[in-house]
Symmetry: C2
DNA sequence: TATTAACTAAACTATATGGTTGAACAAACT
DNA sequence: AGTTTGTTCAACCATATAGTTTAGTTAATA
């Protein structure tokens, strides 16, 4: 699990830019070409393409090449890892929801044994 | 809510460094002096101090000065915001836990009305 | 075959980042 | 008063980042 921390570095870094977060949101609707992802931004195409690359290298986005167009889709596994990391702090903003949630989580771990 | 995105930028950026994440974890146990936070790292004191500052400016850490020593403590509100942002993607890794979780969340919103 | 469209790659610029060192400062200790 | 401790600040360095522009590749279209 040594690489876990390096992965979190790159995932959180990828998320630290509004353009990239916007692209992830755009992908919620399903697969999109890089051109479509780039269009909303006042930025060169090449610039947007570099953002996609950052997302891809962080493992947040998968790329499928078909002909000349590159289709991107969400890959949520790493987002989940980031979320798990944050969850550790739930108890610091904790309300009853999170208490319930933790109970369920423990139960889940028990089932996974 | 325009500054929300800028805040997420700085929060995710603050989280993108292992040293800073480590410091947050150290603060789970409660308030700590900057010297204590710095000690575990093979880094100059001034370097570590700069990391603390990044955490502080991202709103993840509060600072209380008493005499010559600066005590830091977790401030989870921004972590919560980051977590909320990530939660949007729950359905992409969704398992039954998250379904339950969403139900509870909706119930909570109803109660907050 | 020539052109256009969807991309990447490379080279470059400006700025941010993570780190260092050395100096400064206020507070506690002798 | 002098020293040590906990900390910041400023200057500096190397590297990374976000952006640009221009050139190149591959695929669809006329």
């Amino acid at each position: 699990m040594v690489e876990q921390t390096a992965r979190l570095d790159t995932v959180f870094h990828a998320l630290s830019d509004g353009t990239r977060r916007g692209m992830l949101q755009a992908l919620e609707g399903g697969e999109k070409a890089i051109g479509d992802l780039a269009r909303p931004y006042a930025m060169s195409f090449a610039g947007a393409s570099k953002h996609v690359r950052v997302l891809e290298q962080a493992g947040l986005v998968r790329r499928r090449i078909s002909g000349r167009t590159h289709y991107c889709s969400l890959d949520a596994a790493r987002l989940r890892e980031a979320n798990e990391w944050l969850r550790r702090y739930e108890r610091f903003w904790g309300d009853r929801l999170d208490i319930l949630d933790n109970l369920l989580r423990q139960e889940d771990e028990a089932n996974n044994t």
